[in-house]
């Protein structure tokens, strides 16, 4: 065994080892879901508040309007008056009261006596979700069903808001058969019913699980589209597919490098599944003609030679085209048309003046050929002209 052939494995092995080691103890895996900031835009607050210290109170003591809240933009946070009911001695008498560090600093972490009239405002943007507390509370749901850990939190942040998996305990896209509303039951919808994914230039994309768009999605999206296009349709319309698949503009995710020069390597192995966007003959031949890579031009040229000697010989050589045609016919078809094949392989064609006795149909049985002829005699007649 030639060890040097496998030298390229070592960097991958090292990297794999590092990954496994680092992944075994992810600092915040699971808790911090990417895209979270889009659904729950970051809030800004300098208030000191501990839910843990208030856990004996009923939630509605502070969140008084929660039973009537129908959307996420409702302001459900308590105002100063709510705090005043218990912490009267720590609050201002009125808006003109300048306050002092002992009272105001009790809640306002960044209280500055020199700027007492300008306490930091709480910025709490609405979640980009369709959600109504009222709907859920009317079903006699307990607050803790969604805000499970709230009473143990000393400082609550947007990171402690319920995540998708909490919603999915009751809601399921698949179970939502009746109204077939799917993901837009919770996610903000566009007029066509798709999920809104563009939030001022920031894209909301799935980043975990089966639909993880960060996981080699350019290659993998075909699997989802083939299995269940309706999942794609939750966010994308047809024009999104066409923007790549009509082959007009070079997508950098697929052809990032010097692809004009390097495409022969991928084309020979059918590596990038060229035909998903390009038509074999029109797209390939168009450029090949321009750069002089046509069968006619090659025959005339003494300098350019595409195929090795013996490639088109009338007898089989190790470099004979039949091997390559069996291996990857698509590569042949990128330049050659049917007429190039029938010129030699037609029923009455000659090569060097001799009839060709090649079993071009190979492993196809006579029964199979008969069935194909019955289904489509037109293709057979291209070579066997006398067929009825």
């Amino acid at each position: 065994m030639n060890v040097s052939r496998f030298h390229w494995i070592f960097p991958f092995a090292l990297l794999g080892g590092w990954l496994i080691a680092s992944s075994a103890f992810p600092a915040d895996a699971g808790k911090n879901v990417p895209g979270f900031e889009i659904v729950y835009p970051p809030k800004e607050t300098h208030l000191i508040f501990s839910h843990e210290k208030h856990k004996t109170l009923d939630c509605r003591t502070c969140h008084a309007r929660i039973d009537d809240s129908e959307k996420t933009s409702d302001r459900n946070l308590p105002e100063e008056a709510a705090c005043k009911t218990c912490h009267g001695s720590k609050t201002r008498e009125n808006i003109n009261d300048p306050g002092d560090i002992e009272r105001c600093g009790f809640c306002h972490r960044d209280y500055d006596p020199t700027r007492a009239s300008l306490p930091s405002r709480v910025y709490h943007p609405a979640a980009n979700l369709n959600f109504g507390h009222r709907t859920h509370l009317q079903r006699m749901m307990d607050c803790k069903a969604c805000h499970q850990e709230i009473t143990s939190l000393k400082t609550a942040s947007e990171r402690d808001l319920p995540m998708e998996k909490t919603c999915l305990i009751c809601h399921s896209r698949e179970k939502d058969v009746k109204n077939r509303k799917g993901c837009t039951l919770c996610h903000v919808a566009l007029p066509g019913g798709e999920i809104r994914t563009d939030f001022k230039g920031v894209r909301l994309v799935p980043q975990s699980g089966r639909l993880n768009h960060r996981r080699n999605w350019t290659k993998r999206h075909v699997e989802e589209a083939r299995h269940q296009l309706s999942t794609c349709r939750e966010c994308h319309q047809q024009h999104f597919c066409n923007s790549c698949h009509d082959g007009v503009m070079k997508p950098m995710k697929i052809h990032p490098e010097d692809y004009v020069t390097l495409h022969p390597i991928d084309a020979r192995t059918n590596r990038e599944h060229c035909t998903a966007c390009h038509r074999y003959q029109s797209f390939c031949v168009d450029c090949h003609r321009k750069v002089g890579l046509t069968p006619e031009a090659i025959r005339k040229s003494s300098r350019t030679k595409i195929h090795p000697s013996g490639f088109g010989a009338c007898y089989r050589t190790p470099d004979h085209h039949s091997f390559q045609a069996k291996r990857n016919l698509l590569a042949c078809v990128s330049c050659h048309r049917e007429a190039d094949c029938t010129a030699c392989h037609g029923a009455n064609a000659l090569c060097d003046g001799q009839p060709i006795s090649v079993r071009i149909h190979g492993h196809l049985s006579s029964g199979q050929l008969e069935r194909m002829k019955k289904a489509n005699p037109r293709a057979c007649r291209k070579c066997h002209e006398k067929l009825p």
């Binding site: 077939r180 996981r215 080699n216 990032p256 074999y280 293709a379």
Partner: protein, 451 residues
């Protein structure tokens, strides 16, 4: 005069009523691209291409619209002039006008049926195919659904279906203007599928195409089962009943956790041609691919992809490539790393390699992107380098020129000065041992209006 006034009144009334009931999405997209490839002796390729899309969608004004209309037009022209002796003297020969799709969708008819009528694109286990016709999707609370469709196939030259998806009216790109089978071809199909079951998806599909003498029929199967909440087993298959072989036979397993996943896939593929093509009658071997992919997200800002695949393109006999090396198989690996910094900045690095049959390549990529000015402008840049060997078939150029290094940069800027309008400018330039200079420039203007 009265008649004109009456017509104007009716028109305005109808328009107003329509506007009240309908949400209109108008999305013109203008793409300009300039690509040039210059060799030592001459400008070989000059693509100066102008493409205009117009997407017009209408939606019923509702939380869950039932009546929708989607359409997209494309006007495409290549105005490039190169000095190729084979180039057409007519610079406008590449003009094309295409109605890419235009269909009306009526959802939830009696809470049971979805109806789609018009030019539409089918995407399923049999690939992508365009059709002028009607499709019915019947859902039922028994978790079993039925899909029926019928119409006329919109197709290109050799390939009528999955592997050669082609949008309509692009025949002008065919060099000699011929198409393999230009007969009107009827298509009809039926699929039975499971729906509303959380962990199981299954679909069995039959499609038949008929154009008098030419028959083509395929059987498709897709199945996916989730086990224990993290383990997916799946298969998607496309069996060609005409050639009696699989166009695609894919099986795979995947393990998905929140931050780590692993998948193993095996695929067998045979090239798929129009039933009219003689290539169906050739003795060809399938291509087999075994692929393993690993993904990890060590923290919420870092994504790492690692993949390996092996493609074997022959069955039972050793093949030799053009350089005399035994070459039945190619080995491929890739590594990609992206890390977000804040919400607006991303750095990325990538490496891909391919060795074996077809040629060797090692591709490197380093890039970064950031958004500035309240995310109104996004700037991206990448450096890319590739070491290649055995790139060309030609034996004249074999040796020093058949191995080399290609290097280039790409820069991109996206401007979104107002919510409805965005402009993308992108350019790349490369140089290598074979081609003195090549560059490409793209400009894409999107105007996305709602009414």
């Amino acid at each position: 005069m009265r008649r004109i006034a009456f017509f104007i009144f009716c028109f305005l009334t109808l328009t107003t009523a329509l506007c009240e009931a309908v949400e209109v999405e108008l999305w013109p997209r203008t793409v300009f691209q300039l690509q040039q490839l210059r060799d030592v002796d001459r400008l070989k390729i000059d693509k100066t291409r102008f493409t205009q899309y117009l997407t017009l969608n209408l939606y019923e004004k509702s939380d869950a619209p039932n009546h929708l209309f989607f359409s997209s037009l494309r006007v495409d022209a290549d105005l490039g002039r190169d000095n190729s002796p084979d180039a057409s003297p007519d610079p406008l020969r590449y003009q094309s006008f295409a109605l890419m799709y235009a269909y009306y969708e009526w959802r939830r008819i009696g809470d049971l049926v979805d109806l789609t009528v018009g030019r539409q694109i089918l995407t399923d286990e049999l690939g992508m195919a365009a059709m002028d016709g009607l499709k019915l999707s019947i859902y039922h609370s028994w978790h079993v659904g039925l899909e029926l469709y019928s119409g006329f196939e919109i197709k290109g030259a050799l390939n009528a279906d999955s592997k050669g998806f082609e949008l309509p009216n692009s025949d002008t790109f065919e060099p000699d203007g011929l198409t393999g089978d230009d007969r009107l071809t009827g298509v009809f199909g039926a699929a039975i599928f499971l729906h509303g079951i959380e962990n199981t998806q299954a679909r069995l599909h039959y499609r038949h195409r008929y154009s008098g003498e030419t028959d083509g029929y395929n059987l498709g199967l897709s199945f996916r089962q989730r086990i224990f909440g993290f383990w997916d087993l799946y298969t998607t298959d496309d069996f060609n009943l005409f050639t009696e072989r699989f166009n695609q036979l894919n099986v795979g397993a995947r393990f998905d956790f929140d931050w780590i996943s692993f998948s193993l896939d095996h695929a067998t593929r045979f090239p798929n041609f129009d039933a009219d093509s003689i290539f169906n009658l050739f003795d060809i071997h399938g291509e087999k691919e075994l692929a393993a992919r690993f993904y990890v997200r060590p923290d919420r800002r870092t994504h790492l992809n690692l993949g390996y695949s092996r493609i074997v393109q022959a069955n039972d006999f050793p093949l030799f490539d053009s350089w005399g090396r035994e070459g039945n198989a190619g080995n491929f690996a890739d590594l990609g790393l992206t890390r977000s910094i804040g919400q607006s900045t991303e750095i990325r690095a990538g490496y891909r390699m391919g060795m074996g049959w077809g040629g060797d390549q090692h591709r490197f990529r380093l890039g970064a992107g950031t958004a500035v000015w309240n995310r109104r402008i996004r700037l991206d840049g990448d450096w890319m380098g590739t070491y290649y060997e055995k790139l060309l078939y030609t034996d004249i150029l074999e040796g020093a020129r058949n191995k080399g290094f290609s290097m280039g940069v790409r820069v991109q800027s996206d401007f979104r000065l107002v919510e409805e309008v965005s402009l993308k400018l992108m350019g790349d330039v490369y140089s290598n041992d074979l081609i003195e200079r090549q560059f490409a420039f793209f400009a894409v203007l999107d105007v996305h209006a709602w009414q």
